[in-house]
């Protein structure tokens, strides 16, 4: 970095001004004054810090704004806003429990369905697939993430829901005799928690699989070779040496998918049946917080109704924060224990 300490000729005694630098400066054309670089660094540092602060500040402002808009509903209904199932805009009583339940259950269902599939795709692509197949398949899986959610919704209405209604739901309930379990009981109308869970699973699959694939590909070759050298089979190598090494990254991918599932609105609204009730059956219609807001916000004109919708928004915000916090903690735990084992 000595080359940057070029000084104006005639000025002497500047900090770090070595003889070679002053000779080069005397050539005249390169009289660049960079002694003020400390100021430039400070300005640059301040600017970048300001940018960095902007993002959490924005988050904070959003939280404050939504919370204050939702405050009248929280104050009016208290804790029962989160536990009551009565959502009656005509009478002005609002309870968000079914929507909270629906958001959590549909997202959980999506994770249960998507995670094994996405992991399978990732393992195949990173461990088994020849290079010629890996790239196109990876591209196609990633392409799932580029489809707009309203298109998923339309596909759900015209393809997924009819398929669920006629072969899938009766098959689960009657042919497999699962109808005795509350989870698979009741009439099969089509639009249901199950439909929402399946569409969400398809939508979050590319997120989980592409993160997992990259993480698996980043596992050092020596890790695999060491396991194989010990006489491990291919399956033992993958399950015992590769996946544990990539665990924290894979969990990160799953969390990314969960975050997407919690907030997804359009496709879910089109398929979940939009009924504010808590039902044990996956065949029954349900509701999610995001759908509730999307459905009712544009026509809500009463102050309390608007406030209740904002309060639902704040609740969704907080739940997402909590879920992400847990996820971070999980990743941290796993990576720490993995690091401990590696070291």
């Amino acid at each position: 970095m000595t080359s940057t300490t070029i000084e104006r000729p005639g000025r002497t005694g500047g900090p770090g001004t070595g003889p070679p630098a002053s000779t080069s400066a005397r050539r005249g054309r390169f009289r660049v004054r960079i002694t003020g670089s400390a100021i430039g660094d400070r300005v640059y540092g301040a600017a970048v810090t300001a940018f960095a602060i902007c993002v959490p500040l924005l988050l904070l402002l959003i939280a404050i704004e939504i919370a204050s808009a939702g405050w009248p509903a929280f104050r009016r209904f208290g804790f029962s806003f989160l536990t009551s199932s009565a959502w009656d805009p005509v009478k002005g009583t609002f309870g968000a429990a079914p929507a909270i339940y629906g958001t959590l259950v549909s997202s959980l269902l999506a994770l249960l369905l998507a995670t094994p599939l996405a992991l399978g795709v990732a393992v195949f692509l990173s461990e088994f697939a020849p290079r010629a197949i890996r790239q196109p398949v990876a591209f196609l899986v990633d392409l799932l993430a580029a489809i707009p959610s309203v298109v998923y919704g339309l596909w759900g209405i015209f393809v997924l829901v009819p398929v669920l209604r006629s072969p899938v739901m009766p098959f689960l309930r009657d042919t497999l005799h699962l109808g005795g379990i509350p989870l698979f009981s009741g009439p099969a109308y089509g639009p249901s928690m199950l439909a929402a869970g399946v569409i969400l699973a398809i939508m979050i699959l590319p997120y989980i699989s592409s993160v997992s694939r990259e993480v698996l590909l980043a596992v050092p070759r020596s890790q695999r070779e060491a396991a194989l050298a010990l006489g491990a089979t291919r399956w033992e190598t993958i399950s015992g040496a590769v996946i544990p090494f990539a665990k924290s990254g894979i969990i990160g991918g799953i969390i990314l998918g969960l975050g997407r599932a919690l907030g997804e609105t359009m496709a879910v609204t089109m398929l979940i049946g939009n009924r504010p009730q808590i039902s044990a059956s996956l065949f029954a219609p349900g509701y999610t917080m995001a759908s509730l807001i999307a459905n009712e916000f544009s026509e809500a004109s009463g102050d309390l109704h608007l406030s209740a919708l904002m309060a639902v928004g704040f609740t969704l915000f907080v739940i997402t924060l909590i879920v992400n916090g847990i996820a971070r903690w999980l990743v941290w735990q796993v990576s720490r224990s993995a690091g401990g084992r590696a070291g």
Binding site: A86, W87, D88, P89, V90, K91, I157, F158, V161, P162, R165, P187, Y189, G190, P191, T269, M270, G273, N274, R275, P276, P285, S291, A294, N295, E296, F297, S298, E299, A300, S301, G302, D303
Partner: protein, 380 residues
């Protein structure tokens, strides 16, 4: 290599020049836009030029927001009015509730709503708001009953009991009594309603509240309800799609949507005891039945569900344009009045072609007189 880089540089410069040229062009049109906006500013100050030609000033601009239901005909009206008079009207179909909110906040020149503003909303506006009916809408009952091809006959209390979950099978004896000779299957009824807040739901629940005392008590009427049974579909297309796909389903959609998509439609018994097939004439007849009883100083916040009249279709409603009674901006107010006068006379003639029911002539005359009373002499 040097020649290549020079080539790249040259093409870059060329394209930059092109961009600069395009910018120049955009700047030119931008300044043209600026001149139009200056004419808008000119219209704000009442001067001789602005009031020429029946209150229509070329380049004037109005903004409105609200209901989605009348959007197709409103956009037709706005386009045609712009070519005739040069007055541009920007309309955002963000929903009735949003339209009311924006009018109360004073961010638009007019709002639009399928349901009249409630007393609470009017109180919040803190200034008098006028309701100007523009066209009529109707809601029809559509269904998917396997094996039934002829239109089903329905009464208000039967529809209310179906949507309340009290009648649960298609071969219920009350349905069978209304439809002698129709082979109704022993199938469960699936109720499909709107999940999004909607004027359609308001009209439908307004009707059910009018014909069923138990419905009026609960769930009542509104743009969103706590539905006793059923599943929610988003928009007319969501409800219609669900009904079409599910054997045994029943739902409600706008008349225009049902006509354009050829859905099966039930006939409904009206206040005079006749079973009426929903049609544009039957909807206008419902408004005409109510018009005869309106006092001259009415604010038009009247329900026309279950209206009297032999041919009146009972699930009908006005859709409104909402405006300030006292102008916030005198010139824009006069522009809006001039537009409404045109819409209520020439505009109404186009309604039927777009599957909207035009207002009966009696109500058109009342509205024109009302608008005339608001017009200042300079614009008359």
């Amino acid at each position: 290599m040097p020649s290549l880089s020079r080539l790249v540089a040259a093409s870059l410069v060329g394209s930059l020049a092109g961009v600069a040229g395009a910018c120049g062009g955009a700047g030119g049109s931008g300044s043209a836009g600026g001149s139009t906006s200056s004419t808008i500013n000119a219209t704000k100050t009442p001067n001789a030029a602005a009031s020429a030609g029946g209150g229509s000033t070329a380049g004037a601009q109005l903004t409105g927001a609200g209901a989605t239901f009348p959007y197709p005909i409103y956009s037709r009206w706005f386009a045609e009015y712009a070519t005739r008079t040069g007055v541009k009207i920007n309309y955002q179909s963000i929903g009735s509730g949003g339209g009311i909110r924006q009018l109360i906040d004073g961010t638009v020149d007019f709002g639009a709503s399928d349901a009249p503003m409630s007393d609470e909303e009017l109180a919040r506006a803190k200034r008098p708001i006028l309701h100007i009916p523009t066209v009529l809408g109707a809601v029809v009952v559509t269904y998917n009953v396997p094996g039934v091809t002829q239109p089903l006959a329905l009464t208000g209390d039967v529809v209310a009991d179906i949507f309340a979950g009290k009648i649960t099978r298609w071969n219920d004896q009350r349905l069978a009594a209304l439809n002698p000779g129709v082979a109704l299957p022993p199938q469960d009824i699936l109720v499909v309603h709107r999940s999004d807040g909607s004027g359609t739901t308001y009209i439908f629940s307004d009707y059910l509240s009018a014909v069923s005392r138990t419905w009026a008590a609960s769930p009542g009427k509104g743009k969103e309800l706590q539905w006793p049974v059923g599943i929610g579909g988003k928009g007319n297309e969501g409800v219609a799609g669900q009904v079409k796909q599910t054997p045994g389903a029943i739902g409600y959609v706008e008349l225009a949507y049902a006509r354009q998509n050829g859905l099966p439609i039930g006939t409904v018994k009206n206040a005079d005891g006749n079973f009426v097939t929903p049609s544009i004439d039957a909807v206008t007849a419902a408004a005409a039945g109510v018009a005869a009883k309106l006092p001259p100083n009415t604010d038009f916040r009247v329900s026309i569900v279950n209206a009297p009249g032999a041919r009146a279709y009972p699930i009908s409603s006005f859709t409104y344009i909402l405006m300030d009674r006292t102008a916030r901006n005198a010139n824009r107010q006069q522009e809006l009045i001039a537009f409404l006068r045109w819409a209520l006379t020439d505009g109404e003639k186009e309604a039927a072609a777009l599957d909207y029911a035009p207002l009966p002539t009696a109500i058109q005359a009342m509205l024109i007189a009302r608008l005339d009373s608001l017009q200042t002499p300079a614009h008359a």
